[in-house]
């Protein structure tokens, strides 16, 4: 079975990879490109740990095929900080202790950034429903929601 040759822009960089027809984008990221920041919690689209942006849209990378990334842009957690400069969401997650074990964190950060890009001033309810596709078993979500609110306020220049 021959592999597909795929070119895509991943975290702003032109990237080539070989993948099998059945390989998910998550498997490609983790196994072929060594981008293990996207996590596998279920492979069925239920936990959001594998969240990435595909052409600017939030997707579960476990539900996307590697070949579907062809000619498109993929943004993962590895591209969220600019060098040593953390994204405000990353900073507020740290300062607000919004992670315990941290396995869900990359997915939450990617999903939260997608929310703030379209809704800079979300209500608590909007945040809760937007993030309902991401499971966290450790935190009870309290500090995650607060961190997103704090980051949103900072990004709006409200503080």
């Amino acid at each position: 079975m021959s592999k597909h040759h795929v070119t895509a822009t991943i975290n702003g960089e032109p990237t080539e990879f070989l993948c099998e027809t059945s390989q998910s984008l998550l498997d490609v990221l983790r196994d072929e490109l060594e981008l293990t920041g996207s996590k596998e919690g279920c492979t069925s689209g239920d936990c959001g740990a594998c969240s990435v942006m595909l052409d600017g849209r939030l997707v579960c990378s476990c539900l996307v095929l590697g070949v579907e990334a062809s000619g498109r842009t993929v943004d993962t957690i590895e591209g969220m900080a600019q060098g040593a400069d953390l994204h405000p969401l990353q900073r507020h997650f740290l300062e607000g202790a919004a992670l315990q074990c941290g396995i869900c964190t990359p997915g939450f950060l990617i999903a939260a950034r997608a929310l703030l890009e379209r809704t800079p001033d979300p209500t608590e309810t909007e945040i809760r429903y937007w993030l309902a596709g991401n499971l966290c078993r450790c935190t009870g979500y309290d500090k995650i929601v607060r961190a997103v609110m704090d980051a949103a306020a900072e990004m709006r220049g409200a503080r």
Partner: protein, 755 residues
């Protein structure tokens, strides 16, 4: 916050955790993130049957497939004696542990491992699994613990005789163990009661639900030395298990802890590690195995479901005079449910003169129960705290006041062991009464519920090393995986003792070769016991630095004090010397005797028990039976909050899990004993939109045995929620739900009156 807080420079502050940046940038390596050159992929063949005899396994076709490097079955593992070992570092019956990891002559649950394969790719390994031919003789099975106790129930272990009875039974049964605790005379006690509540309750098996599935990579070199990378709640525990189950000297195994993506008790015991190690030894190549979510549900965890009968009696003034409880816990396929904890924790928060609890550990054709956060206590508390609510309502006493009237205090005798030491239970109840949420008016279909909970908290063996670096920083080596911010707590405590900035302390979690034995990350023991080791190790480093300063000043070490990171002469008699900073002392270490480090090894005793009290407001939709959590307030005696954010986080996380247990989560079996909901879609854990903010009240009643008063905090918060929610539902609709989960159909049925 307490007044003495002011004395501390770092304790009680909320700095960013040392491992934080790696965890928000995707760099942190969890167990599935390790890959090695030349690595083989392992896959596991699991039983499709709930109960069957393995007549034969033919692996020849799988072995012949190109790219397959190893195929193993139970025959590749030593048979271990049927004996109970411990208590101590290891506890339990390794024959059962081993057979749970890979079946021998019988499979006892759907998902039970039968064989494993290592191949050059996942696809080939998968194909090889389909070529293994297992000839099963399917046997009758039993899922429900009460049915499993029936005289004609199918037997899982044909020779199992109930342990713990005064006169051991002559016939085998599915009851692995029986136990009882008794204080006073409940029969006489109940005669004094004006009001008695007697009721039965059931709970379902629920999974710990960590988001990271189990995964392992193991590599064996030609000299027989094996390295294992995995996430677990104890690298030393993994080493012991691999050593016993694979049959290898302990010294040939080194376990390197990966970051752990949640455990909650479910990663205290290994599942895949012995399989990966066995195959890496057969092939001399690295072998990596990862579990699917389905495998996690079918073959790991969960905690027990239970059937319980509770009887409590009180006098008119609200004094509880007698209590009894029967606890039937399902253990899963092998003995070892947490029923003993249930017997002890159930009535623990209350000073009751006459108590009897007894219970049964019952094997059933389900995955072997694993620890889940305060194992046993939440199950028992659901029953007892529901009964107390009913008692309070019958007595016309506020449920918080009923608890206050009967709360244990320091010196109250327990019915299962010594008297209680320092406990802050009363304070948790009083704090609830003072919280603004206590007086918020409720609307239609809304109700407020209260419940409390107890957990022993653990101590045990820990050690730690503190290395002083020449640039004035310190490295802390500890042996407990950081599951929720414990590196931050260790760094805070070390910085406090050393008198240097938090940022100058870097903690790492060592592997099994870099530090002596440490007990598991569990039992809410780490900040207490390992924290104590870190404090003592830092003190040891300070002692050493005082000696070095004394040497440089040519005075006696007794004449040196340590303050804010500086050695100073103790008084005028010691002579006039400029204070020496930690950095200055470290910089001159070569000429004063070499590298400076402190070490401590200890077996931490007298942990303070944990108690918490919760208050929840719910709204019940009378049309659908859906229960919405409106607000939640958790109050807990936390001893001393080293990093308050992570203490709050433990409380909030435990509450969220408890709400899932209360309202949605359950293992559902079909009539063939197959799990019907092994995925997150059908095993529904709370999501962000299901919950409100969870308010926390931290009561600080320091534990005398710990230098900073630390009390374990991680487990208590999951104990009260199920009863608190049930009691709130009762307040809202006037109906008492006595079986978990309190899912919409059950609530709806209760409203309609047929529950």
């Amino acid at each position: 916050m307490t007044a003495e807080r002011k004395e501390f420079r770092w304790i009680g502050k909320r700095p960013v955790r040392p491992d934080g940046v790696d965890k928000v940038t995707g760099r942190a390596q969890f167990s599935a993130d390790f890959n090695m050159p030349g690595q083989l992929i392992g896959k596991v063949l699991r039983s499709p049957h709930a109960h069957a005899r393995i007549k034969s396994i033919d692996t020849s076709k799988a072995k012949a497939l190109a790219g397959v490097k190893a195929v193993i079955t139970g025959a590749d593992f030593p048979s271990l004696p049927d004996e109970w070992v411990g208590a101590g570092r290891v506890e339990g019956n390794f024959k059962y542990f081993s057979e749970n990891i890979i079946a021998r002559d019988k499979v006892l649950y759907e998902g039970h491992t039968v064989a494993a394969v290592a191949a050059v790719s996942a696809a080939i390994a998968e194909e090889a699994l389909s070529l293994i031919k297992v000839d099963y003789e399917v046997l009758p099975h039993v899922i429900d613990p009460v049915e499993a106790m029936a005289p004609d129930a199918p037997l899982l272990h044909e020779k199992m005789i109930t342990r713990g009875m005064k006169t051991p039974p002559t016939k085998p049964s599915n009851v692995a163990k029986w136990a009882e605790f008794l204080m006073g005379d409940p029969v006489e006690g109940f005669k004094k009661a004006d009001v008695i509540v007697e009721r039965s309750y059931t709970t379902k098996a629920v999974h710990q639900g960590y988001i990271e599935p189990h995964a392992v990579a193991a590599s064996t070199s030609a000299d027989g030395q094996t390295v294992v990378w995995c996430s677990s709640q104890g690298q030393y525990q993994v080493r012991t298990w691999v050593s016993k189950i694979v049959g290898l000297p302990l010294s040939s195994i080194r376990v390197i802890p990966a970051e752990i993506g949640g455990g909650f008790g479910g990663k205290l015991i290994p599942y895949l590690e012995p399989l990966a190690v066995r195959m890496s030894r057969l092939t001399n190549r690295p072998v990596k195995i990862t579990m699917s979510r389905e495998d996690v549900f079918r073959a790991t965890g969960p905690t027990s479901g239970a059937a319980m009968k509770i009887k409590v009696g009180a006098t008119k003034d609200g004094k509880i005079v007698a209590a009894e409880g029967e606890f039937i816990f399902q253990a899963g396929a092998y003995p070892g449910s947490p029923f003993m904890n249930g017997l002890m924790c159930s009535f623990a928060p209350y000073a009751i003169p006459n108590v009897r609890t007894w219970g049964y550990d019952v094997v059933t054709n389900r995955p072997k129960a694993a620890a889940y956060r305060a194992p046993g206590s939440p199950i028992a508390a659901y029953a007892v705290e529901s009964a107390l609510d009913e008692l309070a309502k019958k007595l016309n006493i506020h449920p918080v006041d009923l608890r206050l009237k009967n709360a244990i205090v320091e010196g109250t005798p327990s019915y299962f062991g010594p008297k209680f030491g320092s406990v802050g239970f009363v304070e948790t109840l009083e704090a609830l009464k003072k919280h603004p949420n206590y007086n918020i008016p409720l609307g239609p279909n809304q109700g407020r519920g209260f419940a409390s909970g107890f957990w022993f908290n653990g101590g045990g063996e820990s050690c730690a090393t503190v290395n002083i670096n020449d640039d004035g920083t310190a490295s802390v080596i500890e042996g407990n995986p950081d599951i929720g911010g414990s590196r931050a707590s260790m760094a805070i405590m070390a910085a406090e003792v050393l008198g240097i900035d938090y940022d100058k302390v870097r903690p790492i979690v060592g592997d099994t070769a870099s530090l002596g034995f440490n007990h598991v990350t569990g039992g809410s023991r780490v900040t207490f016991a390992t924290g104590m080791a870190v404090v003592r190790a830092a003190e040891d480093a300070v002692r050493e630095m005082k000696e070095r300063a004394a040497m440089l000043w040519d005075i006696s070490p007794d004449a040196v004090t340590w303050e804010d990171g500086f050695a100073r002469p103790a008084g005028d008699n010691a002579g006039k010397h400029e204070p020496l900073s930690l950095k200055q002392i470290a910089g001159q270490a070569a000429k004063t005797g070499g590298p400076i480090c402190g070490h401590a090894s200890l077996n931490a005793q007298a942990p303070g028990p944990g108690l918490g009290s919760h208050m929840v407001d719910v709204e019940v939709d009378p049309e659908t039976g859906h229960v919405k959590i409106l607000r939640y307030t958790a109050s807990q005696d936390v001893g001393r909050a080293i990093h308050p954010s992570y203490v709050e986080g433990q409380m909030q996380g435990g509450v969220a899990q408890g709400i899932g247990w209360a309202l949605n989560e359950e293992y559902i079996y079909d009539k063939n004993g197959r799990l019907e909901n092994p995925g997150f879609l059908d095993y529904r854990m709370p999501v962000c939109s299901d919950l409100p903010f969870i308010d926390t009240i931290m009561i600080e009643k320091p534990v005398p045995s710990h230098p900073f008063g630390v009390r374990g905090v991680g487990e208590v918060p999951i104990v009260p929620p199920m009863a608190a929610v049930a009691n709130a539902i009762h307040s809202a609709i006037g109906k008492r739900l006595t079986s978990l989960p309190m899912s919409p159909p059950k609530v709806r049925a209760a409203i309609d009156g047929d529950a």
